[in-house]
Amino acid sequence: MKIMVAVKRVVDYAVKIRVKPDKTGVETTNVKMSMNPFCEIALEEALRIRESGLAKEVVAVSVGPTQCADTLRTALAMGADRAVHVDAGTANVPPLSVAKILRALVQAEQPGLLILGKQAIDDDCNQTGQMVAGLLKWSQGTFASKVVLDKENQKATVEREVDGGIETICLDLPAVITTDLRLNQPRYATLPNIMKAKSKVIKKVTPEELNVELRPDIEIVQVTEPPKRKAGVILSSVDELIDKLKNEARVL
């Protein structure tokens, strides 16, 4: 079986972002970019499945500008076998278009499993995995915190983090799985693996070559800073706190 993993290049999770003064978006030039944390978890899970002998090959794919190749190189250094970069230039590619690109790649590569992160920490959409599953008419296991594959019966048992607790479902393969934080602890790429990754192949294609039309149906009007909270006060005792909550904030 082949596993395909979709990875996204985003502003590093620890960066305090700045909204551009012209309100067109968030400053991304000269800002540290990294692989989306949930994508790292998705890749780690795919690698573990391959290492357990249930899969032969892990293909990492990314959609976005030229610099996405760096993110894919990281994926290769972590252990992916090869990578596909769908170069969409500087265009903003919404989840529906990414899902259509992934569908085209799935149809070309025929993986038995497609793993994605549950959401990208920049747009916070939490859509792409569900959408590609819908387009492919595959079953979906979203917000996975545990994945057990049954190769013989071509099934995956997935534990999902849902609002009320943990839900367990069983999916026929091929399936789409999106990863939650607690699925695993991603590995670091070692130096020898980073060197080795340089000789691995990143295939480049364009959305046009995949016959996917980028048709944005959501227009970003403006991006602004959230309202600032007014400065708080530091209190000296529990008594003072209770008094403030009772008489000033009136929440007790």
Partner: protein, 361 residues
């Protein structure tokens, strides 16, 4: 222009004779608005998060004709349908998909049902709450209908103009939906808590219609099976809707110490939340995590004990009305958003609070 103004006036009166004009003036004049709510129910009642979605539908248009879609099995879905029919004056129709295999919400069957209902009803909007249910189902349904959904809407300015947080709530993005109908979205329930006059709603219960689900394609929906749900039974209020939330971070040091927080929560009538660090350390189950990837809460009072205030945690609680932080570290970022801060050892503060806080129902 005069004709357009006249038509606008006509639309305001929500006269049904407007319908034939729809196609001719699709862009310059907004068409009649009707919303489908993808509803979640539990124990015979529509969930509070779904009621927030209905409140959001009212914000889209005061003349919205709202249909509520429920799926499930047994008497509980029937009872929930009754509740849906009387929960809001704008709800005009309740659609019920009833079958054994719909007892547990699976995205595969829900997406097909939403698609079929949309093809019949031609709704202008389809909405759900941003719960794990809504986030699982709505994007799949949107893909099947070939439209882009909008996640986690916190403000509705016009029927197709929305505000949603991005980058863990550190920026607000205003988006215009320019695609074809339906305009699909999940809404953040803490941002829409409309007051509903129960008498007005009950005077005119909506019609309840059963949906024929024989169209469900087994080749798609038979591919996934629900096996089990393990949940922590708790008598405290639900984290997403609680009036008071108290959370603990890594500084609580153990699951045992979290019991201290629970005691305090009991006294305050509060829900207990946690940071990722506390969940990862195994102090509490993951469904108590508050933050960008956990629950988003906006209670009247939020008290954080031993929480440093990482970006990802703030994303889940920054809209709380009053924030209290108790932390030993005076430089912890949580103090930058706290209304009241106490630089102290939480193991001394919690017992003192337990003693001095007035009892709450």
């Amino acid at each position: 222009m005069a004709a357009i103004a006249a038509l606008k006036a006509l639309r305001k009166s929500s006269s049904p004779c407007f319908a034939p004009f729809r196609t001719t003036f699709s862009q310059s004049i907004r068409r009649f608005i009707s919303t489908l709510i993808v509803a979640e129910h539990d124990g015979g009642f529509v969930k509070p998060s779904t009621l927030s979605a209905i409140a959001a539908a009212e914000v889209v248009s005061k003349e919205n004709s709202i249909s509520v879609l429920l799926a499930g099995s047994g008497p509980s879905v029937e009872k929930a349908a009754q509740h849906a029919a009387t929960c809001h004056p704008l709800v005009s129709e309740v659609l019920v998909a009833k079958a054994e295999e719909l007892e547990h919400p699976m995205a595969e069957s829900w997406a097909e049902i939403v698609k079929m209902v949309q093809q019949k009803g031609s709704y202008s909007h389809i909405m759900a709450a941003s719960t794990s249910f809504g986030k699982n189902i709505l994007p799949r349904a949107a893909a099947v209908l070939d439209v882009s959904p909008i996640t986690d809407v916190v403000q509705i300015s016009e029927p197709r103009l929305f505000v949603r947080p991005i980058y863990a709530g550190n920026a607000l993005c205003t988006v215009q939906y320019t695609g074809l109908d339906p305009c699909m979205m999940t809404i953040r329930s803490t941002s829409f808590q409309g007051e509903v006059n129960p008498d007005a709603a009950k005077a005119n219960p909506a019609t309840i219609t059963q949906i024929d689900i024989s169209f469900l394609n087994q080749e798609i929906v038979g591919k996934s099976k629900w096996l089990s749900l393990s949940s922590q039974e708790s008598e405290r209020p639900d984290l997403g809707n609680a009036r008071v939330v108290i959370t603990g971070g890594r500084a609580l040091k153990s699951a045992e110490n979290f019991k201290l927080l629970e005691k305090l929560a009991e006294k305050l009538g509060a829900a207990v939340g946690a940071t990722r660090a506390a969940v990862d350390a195994g102090y509490v189950p993951n469904d108590l995590q508050v933050g960008q990837t956990g629950k988003i809460v906006a209670p009247e009072l939020y008290i954080a004990f031993g929480v440093s205030g990482a970006i990802q945690h703030l994303a889940g609680m920054r809209d709380s009305k009053v924030i209290v932080a108790v932390n030993k570290d005076a430089d912890a970022p949580i103090f930058q958003v706290a209304d009241y801060g106490l630089v102290a050892d939480l193991f001394e503060v919690i017992p003192e609070l337990l003693e001095k806080v007035p009892e709450k129902k």
